[in-house]
């Protein structure tokens, strides 16, 4: 209830504005590129508290905030929320359930993380970051995992609302209230209804503002536009839209209110826009009420609006991730319809052309491809890479069966959309908290090799599995690894579930819940399990690094006996100092994942299925099963800083591999081999999403024939069972130039595991990481 009152107050009082040339109205904050600070969650508060007095002055990408605003934030807002956030509630429950036995990072370890940081991230760390490290520690049961204070990560149910209008939805809610609910259920429903009222009030405020501007406007063309905006906002979202223009206004208003209601870090996807908007588009074009030019302009404007998003993150992490574009709002186009027929339409193509034309945006754009997709459509999708590294490609023929395995009906599975980076759920009926809960596989390996400890901690974090030097076979090592992985996944599942309980008990989002199919019917907020489908997620990172390390141990220690386990551990501890020769054996003479080499790929298959088994064995309070995934949204670089050297020859401090991609510098057999390696995994089981990132040089896309060949490369990969692939089309030379002359490359975009970022905005380690990913030029030239 308080959430709906807060939303009401915000929407009734926040400043509204309409910018010159804007055709769709609605702003989430008083600034174009602003954040709605989710102070009630807590992790963000810690960052803000840490940075108050510093937001404007921090060395890397400072924020614009006035002294008075900063004072209000520190003295009133953050102080009020102290002890009352999700983070606080989560921490209390974790302590009760003994997830924390002790502070696991001693000051020395904190210092070493910061020092590792200082070495690599010169200029981005301060002594204050040490205290932030304490917050990090408190927010996660272990340093090799993170359980962020977020849920979010869902597809807003635009498709459920757009044909009804919020007025009709409110009537449904009132009808549901009349059915005699228990008090709690009734309160949930009333909060939903109130959030609808607030939204309509907000739309009407915008309408009045538009009319006011129209009255003052001298230019007759713009005057007419403003009047149209006024008329649109008077009609939608209260009523169902009557044409494409109103539909776009409807979509954006609902999205904006959703974003305001949740705050940044929402990762609210808009779903299959080309599907639910198509009837409006068809009708408006056919009866001539909208010109194709206006339709295209509206699509571009929507994509630009979606691209304005960011999350405030600490400088130390900033160097390994990007704020801009981090709060992405994924758009999905293409794929099959609910009956399994090709659903690509004119609007799908317009969205693709629009994203290609915009070029410079922080959009997350997902294109679904299925066996029967028209070749023209696939080639058009690949063609976008000529101008931007934008879109990610998804395989219907793998994702749909994986969703059916999760318990979706065939129809709902076919109706999936992408959330955040790569996570699929059905559109508008699911609460699956698809991200924010990750575990480092390379960290688990370190626990295995150090018998339950990490190099940077003194305390035991995981059970004793015996000193590795006592292992007589590779299987014993694998078994120990499985024990540590299982222990830590248990810990995570418990921790996540306790966090979700905190949410369900007091951190509702009535507005977004109202959009999700099931919540009204069940009279439950989405955080309580109101949605038709409920899942939780655990995501793995550092996959290839771990596979390669295990493969190197099997070959060098157990098969060829080039060194003993004891020697290996000593060398790793010394970070290979004085052992270049052995390090090279590990990095150059051992099998690697991504080369279509069973010497590594069989371990990959084992690791993938072991992880999926362990994650899927858990269920949560919302009657949700846990879904496993493999992606890393840039966090793999931070991982590298925390962990010591690994047996694949990776030195301490270097990043681990991202997502399911081969480790840096190991893709020597080209893209077909990497795709074959990934294709060997039982991809259907990692239904929370997995990603393969690849680089292509621009010359491969410069001709029709080249586009066709890349299209066939992708289609073949999908026929092998791959779920997702995305390309960075750049040359390493260009990137090095960009490092030297960032001013000249402000528009250079790359994708880091799923989300798009401006290259020059990324910290140096991520830049270096991208550069060192092997370049797939054509080998035949």
């Amino acid at each position: 209830m308080r959430a709906s009152l807060a939303l009401k107050k915000t929407l009734e009082n926040m400043s509204v504005y309409i910018m010159d040339e804007e055709l769709i109205a609605g702003n989430r904050s008083s600034k174009i590129l602003g954040v709605v600070l989710p102070v009630e969650r807590g992790d963000m508060s810690a960052v803000l508290k840490h940075y108050t007095g510093q937001l404007r002055r921090r060395p890397f990408r400072p924020f614009v905030i006035s002294r008075a605003e900063e004072r209000e934030l520190r003295n009133d807002i953050l102080r009020y929320w102290e002890g009352r956030t999700v983070n606080d509630g989560k921490y209390r429950l974790w302590k009760e359930h003994r997830l924390f036995k002790h502070a696991y990072l001693n000051p020395g370890a904190l210092l070493s993380i910061a020092a590792g940081g200082t070495k690599r991230l010169k200029g981005y760390t301060s002594l204050k970051d040490l205290s932030l490290g304490r917050v990090l520690e408190r927010s996660n049961p272990q340093i090799i995992m993170n359980i962020l204070d977020v849920q979010g990560h869902l597809v807003v149910g635009h498709k459920n609302l757009i044909n009804k209008g919020l007025g009709a939805v409110k009537a449904e809610i009132e009808q549901a209230i009349g059915k005699g609910r228990d008090k709690a259920g009734e309160e949930v429903l009333r909060a939903m209804a109130r959030s609808i009222d607030a939204t309509i009030t907000y739309a009407h405020r915008l309408a009045r503002h538009a009319m006011l501007l129209a009255g003052k406007e001298q230019d007759p063309g713009r005057k007419a536009q403003l009047e149209r905006i006024g008329a649109n906002c008077t009609w939608v979202p209260e009523h169902a839209p009557r044409d494409f223009y109103e539909a776009m206004q409807f979509l954006w208003l609902v999205q904006v209110v959703a974003l305001i209601s949740y705050g940044s870090g929402a990762l609210f996807a808009i779903g299959r826009a080309d599907q639910y908007l198509y009837p409006f588009y068809r009708q408006s074009i056919d009866n001539g009420t909208i010109t194709p030019d206006l339709a295209f302009g509206l699509i571009q404007e929507l994509l630009i609006k979606l691209s304005y998003n960011l999350i405030v993150i600490p400088s130390v992490l900033k160097a390994s991730a990007s704020e801009l574009g981090a709060d992405n709002q994924a758009v999905t186009v293409g794929g099959v319809d609910r009956s399994g027929n090709d659903a690509t339409n004119e609007l799908s193509s317009l969205f693709i052309d629009a994203i290609a034309g915009l070029k410079s945006m922080t959009n997350s754009f997902s294109i679904r491809i299925h066996k029967g997709a028209p070749q023209d459509f696939v080639t058009r999708a690949i063609g976008v890479y000529q101008s931007t590294s934008g879109p990610a490609l998804f395989n219907d023929d793998a994702i749909i069966p994986s969703l059916v395995n999760d318990g979706y009906t065939q129809e709902d599975a076919r109706d999936y959309a992408i959330i955040g980076c790569v996570e699929p759920t059905s559109d508008g009926n699911t609460f699956a908290t698809t991200s924010g809960n990750d575990i480092s596989l390379a960290g688990v390996l370190e626990l295995t090799l150090l018998n339950g400890k990490l190099g940077i901690t003194l305390n035991r974090l995981s059970p004793k599995t015996g000193p590795p030097s006592s292992f007589r076979s590779f299987d014993e090592l694998k078994e120990a690894f499985r024990v540590h992985l299982g222990y830590n996944i248990d810990l995570m599942a418990t921790g996540i579930d306790l966090k979700d309980q905190v949410y369900g008990e007091g951190y509702h989002d009535p507005f977004v819940s109202m959009t999700i199919d099931g919540c009204i019917e069940h009279a439950m907020d989405m955080t309580q399990g109101g949605a038709r489908y409920n899942f939780a997620s655990i995501t793995a990172r550092g996959f290839a690094t771990t596979v390669n390390s295990l493969a190197a141990i099997r070959k060098l220690v157990f098969e060829e006996k080039k060194l003993t386990m004891k020697e290996l551990l000593r060398i790793l501890k010394r970070d290979f100092r004085g052992h270049d020769e052995l390090r090279n054996l590990m990095s150059n003479k051992s099998p690697k994942f991504g080369r279509d080499d069973d010497g590594a790929d069989d371990i990959a298959v084992w690791l993938h299925s072991t992880f999926c088994d362990l994650v899927k064995s858990h269920t949560g309070t919302r009657h949700d099963t846990f879904r496993p995934g493999f992606f890393s949204y840039g966090i793999h670089v931070f991982d590298g800083i925390v962990l010591g050297a690994t047996p694949d020859g990776r030195k301490a401090g270097e990043p681990v591999s991202n997502s399911l991609s081969p480790a840096n510098g190991t893709e020597t057999k080209g893209p077909t081999a990497a795709m074959k390696s990934v294709g060997k995994l039982d991809n259907l089981r990692s239904s929370n999403g997995s990603s393969l990132n690849m680089r292509l040089t621009p010359d491969l896309l410069s001709t029709r024939e080249g586009l066709y060949k890349i299209a066939m490369l992708v289609r073949t990969y999908f026929s092998l069972g791959g779920m997702h692939v995305q390309f960075n089309v750049v040359s390493s030379d260009t990137l090095r130039e960009a490092q030297k002359h960032p001013d000249q490359y402000k528009d250079l975009i790359v994708r880091v595991s799923g989300y798009t970022a401006y290259f020059v905005d990324l910290g140096r380690p991520v830049q270096d990481d991208i550069i060192s990913r092997i370049e797939f030029g054509s080998s035949g030239m």
Partner: protein, 310 residues
């Protein structure tokens, strides 16, 4: 000339590289198998490591860590850690023990023997990509026809597995001897370097009479032949040579030529194998020159293709 027994009998193929996802060496997505050994000595050779029909060891001095493992394991005592270039090429038989022992990959085997089974398995790896993109396998070199005994069976094997085959050839071979190996090939990429016999001999060490004859033989046997011309600045790109090539094409009734602009990338491979190939120090063939040559061909009614199948 030095050749191993297996090379002579053709029981195994001597291959110096296998490249998957090749896009310029024929239609579709292809795997290119580079056969080692070549009868020509083109001054501008892009693959100097392809010349000798025996295994060699490449030595990359800049990444050597000077551990001396190589010298210890060498049974023929062909390695002297103190000497520049490291390897006594006369004594070395390319066995590869040193490569195995080298921890830093400063030594690389140039030339690996593959029996039919192993090579076929390697080719099959990308079969799904061949099938979807109408690609296949390309035999390149070196000069693949030098290993016609091996190829004869191998090509038939690809054929019966419905794998599309392309052969890149310099055309210098004894047609009668190798024709069985050629009969199953789906497409030939056939190089014409210089038409004047004297120039050809100067540039490549051999005359071109056989080459032009073989071209006619292949065409009259009904083979699918694509003619390619390497454009090497100051060597093969003279107006006289281009006119002469045009005359040959006209005489044979060929209406398309693929132009391959020179790139000096291959020169970096000369030193590691201590090849005697000269450093030409030539620049990349300029875009404008390439356009100019293409225009000349087009004016004569011959289509030009500039970047292979891309």
């Amino acid at each position: 000339m030095r050749r191993d027994e297996v090379y002579r009998t053709g029981s195994s193929a001597l291959v110096f590289d296998i490249q998957r996802f090749s896009l310029h060496d024929g239609p579709g997505i292809r795997t290119v198998v580079f056969f080692k050994g070549c009868p020509l000595r083109c001054m501008w050779c892009q693959n100097p490591e392809s010349i000798h029909p025996y295994r060699e060891i490449g030595f990359y001095e800049t990444i050597c860590m000077y551990r001396g493992r190589c010298a210890v394991v060498c049974e023929r005592r062909a390695i002297f850690t103190g000497s520049p270039g490291r390897i006594d090429r006369e004594t070395c038989n390319g066995c590869g023990r040193c490569v195995e022992a080298c921890p830093s990959n400063a030594l690389k085997s140039v030339g690996t023997y593959y029996d039919e089974e192993t090579l076929f398995a390697e080719v099959l790896k990308d079969r799904p990509f061949f099938e979807s993109s109408s690609g296949g396998v390309t035999f390149s070199g070196g000069e693949p026809t030098l290993q016609h005994r091996f190829l004869k069976g191998f090509v038939q094997r690809c054929r019966s597995a419905h794998i599309h085959t392309v052969m890149e050839t310099c055309g210098y071979f004894n047609f009668a001897v190798v024709k069985d190996a050629l009969s199953g090939i789906d497409m030939f990429l056939y190089d014409l370097k210089a038409i004047d016999a004297g120039l050809h001999t100067r540039y490549t060490g051999r005359g071109n009479g056989v080459i032009i004859q073989n071209l006619e033989r292949l065409r009259s046997a009904g083979a699918n032949v694509v003619i390619r011309m390497p454009l090497v600045p100051g060597y093969s790109d003279s107006p006289e040579n281009i006119n002469a090539v045009m005359d040959v094409l006209n005489r044979l009734g060929v209406r398309t030529i693929h132009l391959l602009p020179y790139h000096p990338m291959g020169e970096s491979k000369i030193k590691p194998i201590a090849s005697s190939q000269p450093y030409l120090g030539l620049p990349v063939l300029s875009e404008s020159k390439l356009e100019e040559v293409a225009a000349t061909f087009r004016k004569a009614g011959i289509d030009t293709v500039l970047s292979g199948w891309m």
